[in-house]
């Protein structure tokens, strides 16, 4: 193995893959078998973090950054004048195994530019995964990209070796896609996603009857949308997200604040700030949908198309629906506790457990780790002290902003001044 050549390829093809933000390595159930290498049964592990604070769990690379498409938002687009490289199948296998043996990674995330055509590319991706599984007896995590337009047969095979498959929708709306990636159409993205969804359902059903049915993409599917490249508002983004969760049983939708990489006039120019705060608010909304029992329409709808930047979406919802509060910590059900600003699901769980033993008061809640600076306006507990003033939502918002330190304070300081 020529380390110099590999190093050069790795630099190019890791750099090109980094805009794909997914790095999850959890949710699979592939155990080590026959004293082989690797195990993907546990929770995900971040082996290190990049200097921008993102988890590094997988060796995330492109097989090649040669691409026949010219999507404006993509750094490997055909018209971009950059260094190109391609790994051989065996090189990727060797890198993965050697990194894994040193406990650098949980497994491989393999994506690719599209060379020749969709099937040719997908076939190469599948052959890497197949080699790892069959020749190396590798049981670590494998995440493969579904190449838009790949045949059903290849997608079926991919799922037999990969733990997770993903196809990035990238642009949330049809119109945006048409403008920025004219060679692609939405159906090409949907097709492999649909195939994988159906295979997962079928394999699961068969497994119930025949134990020896092989695993098929046990960690499910995910997708990614770019934020702030094509002018969509939060309502459109989260509606699309909700559609994919519901329609294709996705495990995750990722939101990736657009990092300007070109001078194309259709896009934010180089030097434009990455919309990280907005990205954060979208993830919070995503969490509210998946773990907190919210319907997307409660947070974003025709009347509220933009998430507040200065406060989190749950607080925003509570202030718009103040008639549901105050909530009695010692009586309320799980669903309602989860809706109280300042209570995370961990706190909710602890409250539900702890209140079996005694009525909880402020001191108890504080020790449990409840963010009382936010929660106190929305709850009562076993104490005769509580917020008695009939505060208007705007006043509560002002008080909370005054008494909290947001990591995004600088980004929203103009709003803060209104109340300061």
């Amino acid at each position: 193995m020529s380390f110099e050549r590999i190093k050069e390829k790795l630099n190019i093809l890791a750099d090109a893959a980094k805009y794909d933000v997914s790095c999850s390595s959890s949710g699979s159930n592939r155990a080590n078998k026959n004293k082989g290498l690797g195990d993907a049964t546990g929770m995900g592990i971040c082996h290190t973090y990049t200097e921008d604070g993102r988890c590094v769990s997988l060796l995330k690379i492109l097989l090649t950054n040669h691409c026949i498409f010219d999507c404006a938002y993509c750094v490997t687009r055909k018209s971009n004048d950059i260094k190109r490289a391609a790994f051989k199948v065996q090189e990727v296998v060797d890198l993965t195994i050697n990194f894994y043996r040193r406990n650098y990674i949980e497994g491989l995330f393999l994506s690719s530019g599209i060379f020749k055509n969709a099937d040719y590319t997908m076939e190469r991706l599948v052959s890497v995964a197949k080699k790892l599984r069959l020749e190396e007896n590798f049981n670590g995590y494998i995440h493969l990209k579904s190449i838009p337009g790949a045949s059903d047969e290849l997608m079926r095979e991919a799922g037999l070796y990969a733990d997770r498959l993903s196809v990035n929708i990238e642009i949330p709306t049809r119109a945006g896609l048409k403008r920025l990636a004219p060679d692609k159409n939405r159906e090409d993205f949907i097709k492999p996603m649909k195939k994988v969804k159906n295979e997962i359902i079928q394999y699961k059903a068969e497994k119930k009857i025949i134990k020896s049915t092989p695993k098929y993409a046990p960690a499910g599917q995910s997708t990614q949308m770019i934020i702030g490249a094509s002018g969509e508002n939060d309502y459109q983004i989260m509606t699309a997200s909700n559609f994919f969760y519901k329609k294709f049983n996705l495990k995750r939708v990722y939101y990736s604040g657009y990092v300007p990489i070109s001078y194309d006039s259709r896009l934010p120019q180089i030097g434009t700030e990455v919309p990280m705060l907005r990205e954060n608010r979208l993830y919070q909304t995503d969490w509210l949908m998946r773990f907190y029992g919210f319907d997307v329409s409660e947070i974003l709808n025709e009347n509220y198309q933009h998430l507040d930047l200065d406060i989190d979406p749950k607080l925003g919802w509570a202030l718009r629906n103040i008639e549901h509060f105050p909530v009695d910590i010692n009586q309320a059900d799980k669903r309602m506790l989860a809706r109280v600003p300042g209570l995370g699901m961990q706190s909710v769980y602890k409250i539900l457990q702890a209140r079996k033993f005694r009525q909880l008061n402020w001191e108890h809640l504080k020790r449990l780790g409840v963010a009382l600076n936010r929660a106190k306006y929305f709850i009562v507990c076993n104490s005769n002290q509580f917020e008695r003033r009939d505060l208007q939502p705007a006043t509560i918002k002002g008080l909370i902003l005054q008494n909290s330190k947001s990591k995004f304070r600088n980004a929203t300081s103009s709003q803060l001044n209104l109340f300061g």
């Binding site: 190093k7 750099d15 290498l37 082996h47 200097e51 604070g53 602890k350 457990q353 209140r355 033993f357």
Partner: protein, 255 residues
């Protein structure tokens, strides 16, 4: 008057002390490791010998009162090696035995909450070690890693590495506590090791390590750099996830 009871520092030793306290109905005790016993001006100091039988009886008793979750909390907290953690554990165990109900999730009880916090720290350290162990291939075909965890987590990570690296010999050595785990392709053993004077844990000298070892480290460092997005740089967040005290043994952080 307070009585100091010492034990050998093992978990079984600690449980043996608990047994003695119940058997002899002792009150006002202070449990200390025999190796770091603080001389006391007032009370007497008595050494309790470790008894597997006594330890088993206490553990069995706890099994009736607690789920795996609660018993894990006791073991995890014990491994924290925090000063006087034995006394917190004794307080907890006494409350467990005194209560009709299982109290392990009474998060409004101060002792329960304290234990939950210590357990969380130890659990975090365990998870960090599963993440931050960096094996380096030696000339003898052994994948070797050295660590200096805040808590004594080697016993907790053994299973994880065994089921993952079933086909390679490996060793994880705790420099602070001077012992290691060694997997010989069949079982994991606890080993004490003597290292040559010239051996520097933070260096990958080719006297000890395989020829290609540094090349792979360099590839990994390169990968680590390439995968970073400069315009999103956030060192505060980075250091929160990868605290500086761990950098010494992380291949990607080597100069």
């Amino acid at each position: 008057m307070q009585q100091v009871l010492t034990y050998d520092g093992s978990f079984e030793g600690f449980l043996s002390v608990v047994f003695k306290i119940y058997e002899e109905k002792l009150v006002h005790v202070d449990i200390q490791k025999v190796a770091h016993v603080q001389p006391s001006f007032f009370g007497a100091v008595a050494e309790v010998l470790t008894s597997k039988e006594h330890a088993d009886r206490v553990w069995k008793g706890l099994k009736k009162k607690l789920t795996t979750y609660g018993r894990n909390q006791i073991y995890y907290s014990f491994l924290s090696e925090e000063l006087a953690v034995e006394n917190i554990l004794l307080d907890y165990i006494q409350q467990v035995f005194a209560s009709k109900e299982n109290i392990e999730k009474d998060f409004s009880n101060l002792t329960v909450l304290k234990l939950a916090k210590i357990t969380k720290s130890v659990g975090r350290e365990k998870h960090r070690m599963e993440a931050f162990v960096r094996f380096r291939l030696t000339k003898d075909n052994l994948y070797f890693a050295s660590i200096e965890p805040d808590f004594n987590v080697l016993p907790l990570i053994s299973k994880h590495f065994k089921s993952r690296y079933a086909d390679q010999k490996w060793m994880i050595y705790d420099i602070k506590r001077k012992y290691g785990l060694y997997y010989n392709l069949h079982t994991v053993e606890i080993v004490a090791m003597e290292f040559p004077k010239s051996f520097d844990f933070t260096k990958t000298s080719d006297d000890f390590f395989a020829n290609a070892e540094l090349e792979f480290q360099e590839l990994w460092q390169n990968y680590f750099k390439s995968t970073n997005i400069e315009s999103r740089k956030n060192m505060l967040l980075h250091v929160r996830h990868v605290p500086k005290r761990y950098w010494k043994y992380l291949s990607e952080k080597q100069p």
